[in-house]
């Protein structure tokens, strides 16, 4: 699987919680994910939803997706066009939920990536290329369980396909 797009970074860099990804002001009353996507990242980057382009990558520091279990967070990012999130580390619930709904996450050193750099991620060859700076980096393969979930299109499609968990 190959993803390419523009890097989107935020302040703060670390501990971007799911309230920041999609605020409770919206997520409790809007049930349509495409409507929610119009407010994604609003509390830390007003106007982000109108700037983000299909295929863009989110780039962050430590503990991305901490806080609330709201699955609207990865779903709204995906609906807004985000193709993949790169971070130094992810919070546990967000990590599972993202793969469950078909949004890939990659743990890697993100320090060298700047706002608006053009990035190509190739999960098959395990490489990351910053075409703006020319930097190429090795990325660790996804855990097998997450690869299977991603290939099947998420957790519910996986269960429908196999009739059970077939994650090994």
């Amino acid at each position: 699987m190959r993803y390419s797009g523009c890097a989107r970074r935020f302040v703060p860099n670390d501990d971007i919680n799911t309230d920041y990804i999609i605020s409770g002001r919206y997520k409790f009353k809007i049930d349509d994910i495409n409507e929610l996507a119009k407010h994604v990242m609003e509390d830390i980057d007003p106007g982000f939803a109108s700037k983000v382009r299909n295929g863009d990558l989110i780039v962050a520091g430590r503990n991305f997706g901490c806080g609330s279990s709201r699955e609207q967070a990865p779903r709204a990012l995906k609906a807004a066009g985000v193709s993949v999130v790169l971070a130094k580390s992810f919070a546990r619930i967000f990590y599972r939920s993202s793969f469950n709904i078909g949004l890939p996450l990659i743990e890697c050193d993100t320090d060298s990536i700047r706002q608006n750099d053009q990035i190509v991620v190739d999960l098959d060859s395990g490489t990351f290329t910053n075409t703006t700076t020319g930097e190429t980096m090795h990325i660790n393969p996804l855990p097998r369980t997450m690869q299977i979930l991603l290939e099947d299109g998420g957790l519910v499609p996986h269960l429908k396909k196999h009739g059970d968990f077939a994650l090994k």
């Binding site: 501990d15 919680n17 309230d19 920041y20 605020s23 409770g24 002001r25 997520k27 409790f28 009353k29 809007i30 049930d31 509390d43 830390i44 430590r62 503990n63 901490c66 806080g67 609330s68 279990s69 709201r70 699955e71 609207q72 990865p74 779903r75 580390s89 919070a91 546990r92 619930i93 599972r96 939920s97 469950n100 709904i101 369980t145 998420g154 957790l155 519910v156 269960l159 429908k160 059970d164 968990f165 994650l167 090994k168």
Partner: protein, 417 residues
Amino acid sequence: MGKTIAEKVLAAHSNSDCAAGEIVVASVDFCMAQDGTSTMMIRELENLGFEHPKTKRGMALVLDHNAPCPSVEVSRIHLRIRDFAGSRRIPLHETGQGVCHQVVPESGRVLPGDLVVGADSHTCTYGALNACSTGLGSADVAAAAYAGKLWFKVPETYSIRVSGSLSTRVSAKDLILRIIGQLTADGATYKSIEFSGDTTDSMEMDGRFTMANMAVEMGAKFCPFNCDEKTVSWLANRGFDSGTPVSSDMDAHYEKQFEIDASDVVPQVACPHSVDRVCDVSNLRGTKIQQAFLGTCTNGRLSDLEAAARLMNGRSVNRDVRLIVAPSSRTVLVEAMEKGVVTQLLKAGAIFVAPGCGPCVGTHAGIPSDGETVVSTANRNFKGRMGNNKDVGIYLASPETVAASAIAGEITDPREI
């Protein structure tokens, strides 16, 4: 090699001899979702052709985050949840029954040794009852309800040994804030936390619920306390048996071990906008507040309301402060009424809202205005958390500190009242 509580519970639920790091498919005893996470779960369940939960003690849905309903949009979400619960005969905890993490334990569906999942990050609260219990997204909880089982990575465990007596007007909230300040917001990511030592052994159940509740604020997956006489009597007083208690082996492997001296813990406050920006209350002397909030799945229980009422003791809420109280359940509210606690708080000037999440998640019942400062017993102080991101600062503290601050009009050490 001995085993931790997490290893034993996941082994018992997967008929395996699993150890930390392994992936298992384990049977799930109970699952739940709330009004902010149910509709996505319902869509997934309908997609799967779900009829009835296969989890051992079924599932429950709770209307708590946005209840009573504040808008037409939310009323439709609540209606959808009611219709689904009614058509599948799934227990629904209606508006006003309380916060999911109080009404679920009160319902007896979580017992010692259980494996539980919930579509709410604070599902780790049931660790107080010796359960391995964790928050997940809606798809994972749908899968657990549909299949009666789910995949888990067996977590490594941190041991936190706490010894010494907490000082007067210092409580479980101060202790857990102190620990989160030390470990940081991602310091226990993916880990199971086991507390031990005389401080938590002598702590009442309400305090253990407070501590387990906030384990997720340092990234933890489970926070199983030991099952002891306090656990058993808490369950027995509500008519429930004590399940299958699990304890760790003497030679269990802990990835890290921490020692905390409770006797030198002073009232702690988490400063905006992160739960791990913790300092002593004395560092914030003079910080004016406009709102104080007592409640939530962290600190809306009877002992929390009692602690606040004791501090009030004839004093009044400062005229520049709104003190909002949301009891964690109707049961708690009734007990607090019978004990005179509600009268004391009302006479002091408190505003009671319906049992439930209250203003914690910023959808209703106490949204602060631009530039205001709030001191709250909740578990999160993210920017915009209470519904307004325009220079609102949320400080997290104990019920004692919140009450003292409401009286003084500024963040105040409860030992000085």
